[in-house]
């Protein structure tokens, strides 16, 4: 018989709280002017990095779904290429980050996880941008896109690492959900 795996309401509340933080950070990012609409600093990935240390992989993916849909609703891009690029980048990077965090153990810090996630997300987005929008000239926007992603992912990784080490909220969640290591 299949075991039913319902997420407890407390955990759902915490996931919604982190998703709210992702909305806030994407609203902040939205106000920063960018030369192309799909170039991103990825500030909203900060809650995903935190979630890796607190929640199970399906719960992290639920957070990613909320983040993507919320960004689409806040920025009004749900029907646009921007949304498609964001969704594919977010999902691919989340899968890679979950894999590295779960199976990398202590050999990979959140900074490394953040860099790998950004790299995968940006490569997927560059490929799709080339296919849908920019054509072969995507080779020109690729390098700056990857460099911006690398710098911001290092910065976010450092912040996330420090937050996880010092945050009382993270400790509470890890203790309650039994994810403390």
């Amino acid at each position: 018989m299949m075991k039913q795996t319902r997420i407890p309401s407390d955990t759902l509340n915490r996931i919604a709280l982190l998703a709210g933080l992702a909305f806030l950070l994407s609203a902040v990012e939205y106000t920063i002017p960018k030369p192309l609409p799909f170039i991103r600093l990825g500030l909203a990935n900060f809650p995903i990095l935190i979630a890796l240390t607190c929640f199970s992989p399906p719960q992290v993916l639920l957070l990613v779904v909320l983040k993507i849909l919320g960004q689409g609703l806040i920025q009004g891009t749900l029907f646009s290429y921007t949304f498609l690029l964001s969704a594919s980048g977010s999902f691919s990077s989340a899968l890679v980050m979950i894999f590295l965090y779960r199976w990398g153990g202590k050999r990979i810090s959140l900074i490394g996880v953040s860099i790998a996630g950004a790299l995968v997300s940006n490569l997927i987005q560059i490929y799709l941008a080339g296919f849908l929008i920019a054509g072969a000239a995507v080779a020109l926007i690729g390098p700056p896109f990857l460099i911006i992603g690398l710098v911001s992912s290092v910065f976010l990784g450092i912040l996330a690492q420090r937050f996880v080490q010092t945050s009382r909220w993270v400790k509470n969640v890890q203790h309650m959900d039994g994810t403390a290591e």
Binding site: G70, Y81, A137, F163, W169
Partner: protein, 198 residues
């Protein structure tokens, strides 16, 4: 546009989407894009002019960098080719049009159905509380401030606000708008398919 029903706006956007995506006639696509921008402006949605303009020119320029088709004009040693220009304009219009169609059809009052919709509503509740609480926390250190914010909000009752109910909407006006908007866009697609060189 604020008085139109978010649900009907969302459905209208969804139904107009194929009529816009399948439109290959450049002037028709430009008209649709202009219509979406005008309707967004009329609905007093917050509009930034510069980012879409930069996006439009940069996408067109990027496509011109791969010359294809008959040379129309040469600027210095750089040839502007017909097919590359057509492809660039088509892609740029699609990008900008989709962004504005999206802005038009999706408001913050749009509520998605089901359990996921309820969870998104709860997330919006936390998002709004965060923007309010952030100013009230006196802590200067960013990460400590963030931690305090998370602890404060987790302790707060998580009453999900119904995002769909905050703006009163006129059902009749919404349906009228939807009918004209959907029919107009589909009619344009049918006309351009029936008379390809119009």
């Amino acid at each position: 546009m604020t008085k139109l029903s978010p649900k009907i706006l969302f459905l209208s956007g969804l139904l107009v989407l194929p009529a816009f995506l399948f439109q290959n006639n450049l002037p028709a696509k430009a008209s649709q894009t202009a219509l979406f921008i005008i309707l967004c402006a009329a609905g007093s949605r917050r509009m930034l002019i510069l980012p879409p303009l930069i996006a439009f020119f940069s996408v067109t320029l990027m496509n011109l960098l791969s010359p294809h088709g008959e040379v129309l004009i040469t600027i210095g040693r750089f040839p502007i080719t017909e097919t590359a220009l057509h492809t660039g304009l088509h892609r740029a219009l699609t990008l900008i049009g989709l962004i504005y169609l999206s802005k038009l059809a999706i408001t913050r009052h749009t509520r998605l159905p089901g359990t996921l919709g309820a969870l998104i509503a709860k997330t919006f509740f936390f998002f709004e509380r965060m923007t309010e609480e952030w100013k009230n926390i006196k802590e200067k250190r960013l990460l400590v401030k963030l931690d305090t914010l998370m602890l404060t909000l987790e302790a707060a009752p998580a009453a999900a606000k119904k995002t769909g109910s905050s703006a009163p909407s006129s059902r009749r006006a919404s349906i009228m708008f939807a009918l004209i908007f959907i029919t107009g866009n589909w009619l344009l697609l049918v006309l351009t398919l029936a008379i390809p060189h119009a």
